[in-house]
Subunit: 362 residues, 2 copies
C-alpha cells in the first residue's frame, strides 16, 4: 500500500504516539525524518537557525564538531565551548558563555558516541538557556531508548535521534521532536532546504487531518520503526533503562580487569550504551578487532576522530544490551589477550562482571 | 555487519557498478543518496548551485515546480520555462531561453510523474546547454530502469532517481550520478548542506580505497537496492524497456475504449510507466479509486497539483508492468464503469488491449 493510504496513515499515527512516549513529551511535532540520524541534525539547523544567528555549540567529541560544521554551513556564527574529549559541559561553563553576548541557541550532544560521555545536568542547562532567551537543541541519537530523554521536563526545544542505536531498528530514519516555541521560530520564515522543510513535512504527518504529499515516505523503514518502538514500550522505559545500566555496570569492571581504561574518567559521566576504552599496551587495535569479529562473531567499533586507531567503542545498545553478550564479549577478549601474553587467565574479565551480576541479584 | 565492514563494502561496490550500467555512464561518482528521490534533487542543488547563480528550470508539472522552489531556497535565481502541463519542452524553446543571458545550469524532468509527459530530444537539448556553457541537470526519478537514461551519450552532467519507481525497490534511496565537470564545480566550494555534502560522501563511497565515515549508511536499503539492480540487469535493459513499452501500448487503447482521455495529448510524448488520464464524465474519482482498491486490490494514484481530484495516475512500473496487470486493471475498471451505467460491456477495455497484444505477438 502507498504512503498516502489510510492503513499506512494509521501506522504513522501510532509511530508518532509511541515516539512521544520515548521522548517523554507532549510535542505534536514528533516525527521521523526520512534520512539517517544526521539528517535530523540538518533538519533542526535548516529550520531553526537563521543566517547571522549566534549559536553556542558544545564541542566534546566528533558529533559536537559535526553540529558546528553544519551550523556554519547555513551561515550562522558558531561560538564553541571546546572541551577535552571524554568530558561533558558544566552548567557553570554554559552560564559563563551566555554572560558574554546574546545567543539564539545552544546545541549539545546528550550521548557523545565518539567518547562515551554522558551529558549531565540537563534540566539545569535547560533553565540557563531559557533564562537567556535561547533555544535548547539536543542530539539524542545514542540516548533515545537507552537512557532518560525528558524533553518536556528538561525544557529541550528540539531534539533528534537515530533508529539504529538503542531502538534496534535498521538505520534510515531520524526521529525528531520540536515544541511550540521551536515551531514558531520555524514558521517565521522559509526553511533553507526543501527536503527537510518541516512546514511542509508537517502537512504530511497531519494527525487526524487531510495529508498533503511532500515526498514519498520510506514506508518500509516506518514499519520497522513502528515495530521497534512497540518492543521498547512493551519492555517499558524504566525496565529498559535499568537493563542498560545493569549490563554497563557489569561490563565496566570486566573491561578494567582485562587492562582497558575508559576515555571518560569520571564514572558517573559514562554512558551505559557505549563504552569507549583504550586498549592494554602492546596490542594492534585493528587486527585484534578483526580477529574478534572473525572468531567470535562480535563486532566492535573503532575509535572516531582523534581516537581513530587508539581506542575501541563497544556498543551495548537496545536488544544487544544483555548479560549473555557482556559475558561472551569479555570471554572473547580474554582469550585473545591471553594468546598475546597480556594476561594469564582468560576469564578474569568475565569473573569481574559475574561478581557484579551476582551482587545485584542478591 | 556494520556500514564500514569489508563485506558490506563489497555490496556497495557492486551496487555502484550496477547503477552505472542503468545510467549508461562511466561516471565514478554514481551512488545512492541516503534519502528518498527528492533528496537527490536537493543534493544536486546544494552541491552544484551557488547563490546568485542563474538557473533555467523547465516547469511542466509538479516536479519542475519543486526543483524551482529548491533552487530558489538555496539563493539562486530561477528562470522558468513555463509550459502547459502535459507538454514537454522543445529544443527551440531552450535555445531561445539561452539567447537572453548567460545561465549556469538547466534543470528538467525527464519523466514528469504528475502528467505522464516524457521529455524528448534529450541529446539535442544537452548540446544546446553545453554550447551555452551551462550544466545539464536531469530528474530521472521515474525514468531510470523503465526507459532509456543515457547519461554519457546525452551529455547529462548530473542526474538523480528514486528506488520505488521502475527499480521496484522500497522508497528510501536516491541514486545519483555526476560527471567530472559537475564534480569540479562542487569541489570549488563547500556544499551548503552537511548531510548531502558530496565531497565528504565521496570519501565513504571510495571504491577500492580507504573509506571514511560520514553518516551511517541505511544498510538495509542498500541491500534492497543491490537486489533490485541485480534483477533489472538479469532481465536486461533492452528487454525491460521493451516490456514497459509493450504493456503501455496495450493499456492505452484499453483506457481510451473505456472513455478515459490522456493528459498528454501527443502520443509520442507519453511515458510507458505512468498513465495520467481524465475520467469519463459522471464519476467521482476518489470514490471509484477506493472501490477499485477495496474490491480488486489495485492501487491507483490520484492527480497531483492542478490535477488533484480531476485525474488518475496509473503506474506500470518495474515488476508491475505486466500483461496480467494490464488485463486485471482494465477488467476491474470496466466492471465499475458498468455498475455506474457508463458503459454496457465491461470487457471493452480489456478487448482493446488484447488486440494490441495479439498483433504484437503475431
Amino acid at each position: 500500500i502507498g504512503h498516502l493510504d489510510s492503513e499506512f496513515i494509521k501506522i504513522m499515527d501510532e509511530a508518532q504516539a509511541m515516539l512521544r512516549m520515548l521522548y517523554q513529551t507532549e510535542n505534536r511535532m514528533t516525527i521521523p525524518i526520512s534520512g539517517t540520524g544526521s539528517s535530523g541534525m540538518e533538519t533542526l539547523v535548516a529550520n531553526l537557525i537563521n543566517p547571522q544567528d549566534k549559536v553556542i555549540v558544545v564541542k566534546n567529541g566528533v558529533f559536537g564538531g559535526r553540529i558546528a560544521d553544519t551550523v556554519s554551513r547555513f551561515g550562522a556564527e558558531v561560538i564553541s565551548i571546546d572541551l577535552e574529549w571524554g568530558t561533558v559541559v558544566t552548567p557553570e561553563q554554559i552560564r559563563k558563555a551566555f554572560s558574554r553576548n546574546r545567543y539564539h541557541a545552544l546545541f549539545l550532544v546528550q550521548a557523545e558516541t565518539s567518547t562515551g560521555a554522558h551529558q549531565q545536568h540537563m534540566r539545569e542547562i535547560g533553565e540557563i538557556v531559557h533564562q537567556n532567551g535561547a533555544l535548547f537543541l539536543v542530539d539524542a541519537v545514542t540516548s533515545l531508548g537507552g537512557t532518560e530523554v525528558k524533553i518536556d521536563e528538561w525544557g529541550i526545544d528540539a531534539a533528534y535521534s537515530g533508529t539504529q542505536k538503542c531502538l534496534s531498528v535498521p538505520p534510515g530514519l531520524s526521529p525528531i521532536t520540536l515544541n511550540e516555541k521551536a515551531m514558531q521560530k520555524l514558521r517565521a520564515r522559509k526553511a533553507r532546504s526543501w527536503y527537510f522543510d518541516l512546514g511542509m513535512i508537517e502537512q504530511y504527518w497531519n494527525e487526524g487531518n487531510q495529508r498533503k504529499y511532500h515526498h514519498t515516505a520510506p514506508i518500509n523503514m516506518i514499519y520497522a520503526l513502528h515495530e521497534g518502538l512497540r518492543l521498547v514500550l512493551q519492555e517499558g522505559l524504566h525496565a529498559r533503562f535499568q537493563r542498560h545500566r545493569r549490563n554497563a555496570a557489569a561490563l565496566q569492571p570486566g573491561l578494567e580487569a582485562l587492562g582497558f581504561t575508559y576515555l571518560v574518567k569520571k564514572q558517573n559521566e559514562r554512558l551505559p550504551m557505549l563504552h569507549a576504552v583504550y586498549l592494554p599496551d602492546g596490542l594492534e587495535e585493528g587486527k585484534l578487532r578483526q580477529n574478534i569479529r572473525a572468531r567470535y562473531n562480535i563486532e566492535i567499533g573503532g575509535g572516531l576522530g582523534e581516537f581513530s586507531g587508539k581506542a575501541w567503542r563497544i556498543g551495548l545498545m537496545g536488544h544487544s544490551s544483555t548479560k549473555d553478550k557482556v559475558g561472551r564479549l569479555l570471554n572473547s577478549i580474554g582469550e585473545e589477550l591471553k594468546k598475546h601474553g597480556i594476561i594469564d587467565d582468560a576469564t578474569i574479565g568475565f569473573q569481574a562482571a559475574q561478581t557484579i551480576y551476582q551482587n545485584s541479584e542478591s
